[in-house]
């Protein structure tokens, strides 16, 4: 910590607070902020933590563990497919593995990882001290953790879902999938979606209402834009899969006929509902990645982003168009040609905003002074891989071409190019970029380069030959193949590639472990970056910022650095968790909001929900039991506590202040 930062812990002249009289509220007292915002010690404190950086980091670490688990499943599957007729996995196990691989990567890795970063970084990027609903945040994490662990426990109990992450009826109906496996799918999916939904709601509320004064929407960092749009997409998309899952659960447990043709139902109804969610889901995974890229490109090109407005509009367009594509997953179900042409057009249309963003990033690099640190390397990897995935994406938007490659390894290649390229590469860039902020130490550049090249080469060796396998007629989700099919060579290459990817992952893990302890100390702003998170120490204190900044530029650190003086807000109470509330568009100051303190109620609520959801797999009796537990937890959660320091009611000076606000 430099001398300048040391000064920040002392009340600045004009930003003072009364240290001595406990009966009067205290303002801007940095030494008191620490007590107010810290989490109680001990195991109870650990379980009751609600601070956004704690919850965000838990999300990131948990999602990374699930990435490794999903990756291990993939490695075993690659081993099985390395040679014809191998018997490492039985058909039954293989089907559970590929189902769990898909569910893990989509629901337990990609979305929670992006949310973890969003929860960790967003309040720092917009200059506030926590998310709008800290307890909801903690609840979302516990729900996710319990759901994810339950899914992997099911694998060991041999009741893991085995009908694919897409889980089409009638295969997933009770006639063709008796037993608990599909019930695990329907309940766990619904459960985990709840986590994504609550995170989305509070990210929207936080982004709209808690930006630092002056950070109008047009000055908001591009990453925050990406998170805002992702969150809004989640709100509209996720209900599709929840409704579908509930219907399927009812079909299985209560003999309804939603997807049963003999009862007037239709298996295609599932596909419409599922892909209404499932296609936006792809962009829900991709858009935060685009946000990572924008942050990294700006900083490492050392210039303001070229085409900020174009990128924001592209993100918005992506969010909207993504809801008009779902039928392109159903081109082979016999949808009428006129309808499918519309979806072909929409699917090709979405290439335009993606293209515009890539062009803007290239223009930024071209017009800047790029420095090839590891985060920027991952941007290059992203461009290479994602462009290939985008091109094959335009191809599969064609109904007739899709009728050949749909459900083949061509699509396996395509989707990994898009998702690994669009999400995993940017996420690794984000690891290298924000690790110094989160941990306070730099990741090793040397290992970073190894990490990058192994992933890039390994990825392409694994997935590029799969395009060819698709043309040779290798369908997805086959556990074995005959030597005579001539698929051996490509599969062998792909398996070798998967080991290179695994080596890249190992290098990353080694890098993290080594750097966490012995990495070069980062300092506040090792990258000389533009955005607010680099204004505060690394790792940031419990309260994020000693003083809430006032923003007058899109690149606040770059523009204000010249003067060396930061404009800040004064008069925020330091004896309770107060944050500044600003208007949604212009971020004019509107008032103050007092956030909730740590509590065990989020955990209690998550446990109540778990009893209802997980119990439902075996008996519907558990649903009302869990509902009552959840209700009690919520009642305690929201019950106001009459403690002077407890927000948000009963403050002695409340009434006069209110009156003065009413008049202004």
């Amino acid at each position: 910590m430099t001398g300048e930062q040391q000064a920040a812990t002392e009340p600045t002249p004009g930003v003072g607070g009364d240290r001595h009289d406990p009966s009067t509220p205290r303002y801007d007292d940095v030494s008191q902020l620490h007590d107010t915002w810290s989490t109680p010690p001990g195991i109870i404190g650990w379980l009751s933590a609600v601070n956004h950086r704690t919850v965000g980091l838990r999300f990131i670490i948990t999602a990374f563990v699930f990435l490794l688990l999903g990756g291990l499943l993939a490695l075993v599957m690659r081993l099985q497919l390395m040679s014809p007729d191998s018997a490492i996995l039985s058909a039954d196990r293989y089907n559970q593995f590929f189902t769990l691989h898909g569910v893990t990567m989509m629901f337990l890795f990609a979305v929670p990882m992006a949310e973890g970063f969003a929860i960790y970084v967003t309040p720092l990027l917009i200059g506030t001290r926590d998310m709008a609903f800290p307890r909801l945040n903690a609840f979302g994490y516990y729900v996710y953790l319990i759901g994810g662990v339950a899914l992997y426990v099911s694998l060991f109990l041999d009741v893991a879902p085995d009908a694919g992450w897409f889980n089409y009826p009638t295969l997933s109906g009770k006639t063709y999938s008796p037993g608990a496996r599909i019930d695990v799918y329907t309940t766990i999916i619904t459960f985990v979606e709840v986590s994504a939904l609550v995170a989305a709601v509070e990210l929207v509320a936080t982004i709209f209402k808690q930006r630092a004064p002056g950070m109008s929407l047009s000055r908001m960092p591009l990453f925050v834009w990406a998170i805002l749009i992702t969150s809004l997409m989640i709100l509209f998309a996720m209900p599709g899969v929840i409704v579908a899952s509930v219907m399927l659960a009812l079909d299985r447990m209560a003999d309804t006929h939603f997807f049963v043709p003999s009862g007037g139902g239709d298996p295609l109804l599932w596909q419409h509902l599922f892909w209404w969610f499932g296609h936006p889901e792809v962009y829900i995974i991709l858009v935060p990645g685009l946000g990572f890229i924008s942050s990294i490109v700006t900083v490492f090109s050392r210039r303001p982003m070229f085409g900020y407005t174009a990128i924001v509009l592209s993100l918005i367009a992506t969010g909207i168009i993504s809801f008009g594509l779902w039928v392109h997953h159903m081109f082979t179900t016999g949808v009428p040609e006129l309808g499918s042409s519309f979806f072909t057009a929409a699917s090709m249309l979405i290439a335009i905003p993606a293209g515009v963003q890539i062009f803007c990033w290239i223009a930024t690099i071209w017009g800047g002074r790029p420095v090839l640190r590891t985060p920027l390397l991952f941007v290059i990897g992203f461009i290479i891989v994602f462009v290939i995935g985008g091109i094959s994406g335009v191809m599969v938007a064609s109904v007739q071409f899709d009728s050949q490659v749909h459900d083949t390894y061509f699509v396996v290649a395509h989707l990994h190019y898009v998702l690994f390229g669009g999400m995993v590469f940017p996420t690794f860039g984000a690891f290298y970029y924000w690790f110094p902020k989160i941990v306070g130490r730099m990741l090793s550049e040397r290992l970073g380069k190894w990490n990058f090249w192994l992933l890039l080469i390994g990825f392409n060796v694994t997935f590029f030959p799969m395009h060819q396998l698709g043309f040779k007629g290798m369908p997805r989700r086959v556990y074995s193949y005959d030597d005579a099919m001539g698929w051996g060579a490509e599969n062998l290459i792909a398996t070798v590639g998967s080991w290179i990817v695994a080596a890249g992952m190992l290098v990353f893990i080694v890098n993290v472990i080594r750097s966490w302890r012995n990495g070069e100390v980062a300092g506040d702003d090792p990258w000389n970056a533009d955005s607010l998170e680099w204004l505060t120490p690394s790792p940031p204190p419990q309260y994020n910022f000693a003083h809430i900044p006032v923003i007058s530029s899109r690149w606040p650190l770059w523009d204000q650095d010249r003067a060396g003086v930061y404009d800040v807000v004064s008069g925020i109470r330091s004896d309770r968790r107060e944050v500044v509330v600003t208007s949604a568009i212009e971020a004019d100051v509107q008032g103050l909001s007092v956030l909730a303190r740590p509590s065990l109620t989020p955990l209690a609520l998550a446990l109540g929900c778990s009893v209802a959801f997980v119990g439902a797999i075996w008996s519907l009796i558990w649903v009302p039991v869990g509902a009552v537990l959840a209700y009690l937890a919520m009642a305690v959660w929201h019950w106001p506590v009459h403690d002077e320091r407890t927000p948000p009611w009963r403050t002695p000076e409340r009434d006069p202040r209110l009156d003065s606000t009413e008049s202004t």
């Binding site: 000064a7 808690q210 599709g240 409704v243 006032v550 008032g591």
Partner: protein, 200 residues
């Protein structure tokens, strides 16, 4: 780091009960999610309808109109009463708040009773065919929402009985009311869909 205080917020309201605070956005988020869920259910209803040669499936008559129409009126009335109670606490009229909440809750309970009466008498069940499945699911899902309203209102009403709310501290009432109005508002298109659209 040198800082310069340019904006003093000491005199601002310590919490925002205006209807654009973070909590309002949070509640709107909840309402958007729930609306999307109801929209998905409605879309499924119409999807199944277009896939079927007859609707209702199985040759049943379109549902009777009288009881559900009265019941819709009951639910709308509960919303109006809730609004009246909310306005009461804004004027610090504690009695009006308490009476309003109890009457609104009774109306909602009456809605549930009438729904129960209505559906003990329909000739199809959820396991009869896809029509029965979607109708019972929508009715069940909406009724669960009304039950949640009652459960939530119990907590808020307990606080109201203790005189907890006043014109400055009524966020609990406002948020409870928002959700109440949503559950009532979402019923109206469902009512049109379930009871009138089979006749089209």
């Amino acid at each position: 780091m040198n800082v310069r205080a340019v904006l003093d917020v000491r005199t601002l309201s310590p919490y925002s009960y205006r209807n654009d605070g973070a909590l309002w956005w949070g509640m709107m988020g909840m309402i958007v999610i729930e609306s999307a869920v109801f929209a998905m259910l409605a879309a499924s209803y119409f999807y199944l309808k277009t896939q079927s040669a007859e609707w209702p499936l199985g040759g049943y008559d379109a549902p009777k109109l009288l009881l559900p129409s009265i019941n819709t009126g009951v639910l709308i009335a509960s919303s109006l009463v809730m609004h009246w109670a909310d306005k009461g606490v804004a004027k610090n009229d504690q009695r009006r708040l308490r009476v309003g909440m109890i009457v609104a809750a009774l109306l909602a309970a009456m809605f549930l009773v009438l729904k129960y009466v209505e559906y003990s008498d329909v000739p199809y069940r959820w396991d009869t065919n896809a029509y029965g499945s979607i109708v019972w699911t929508i009715i069940g899902f909406h009724s669960v929402h009304v039950m949640v309203l009652l459960a939530k209102t119990m907590v808020v009403a307990t606080l109201a009985m203790r005189g907890y709310f006043d014109p400055y501290r009524r966020l609990g009432v406002i948020i409870n009311g928002m959700y109440w109005h949503f559950v009532v508002a979402v019923w109206i298109p469902l009512y049109v869909m379930l009871y009138w659209s089979p006749r089209w």
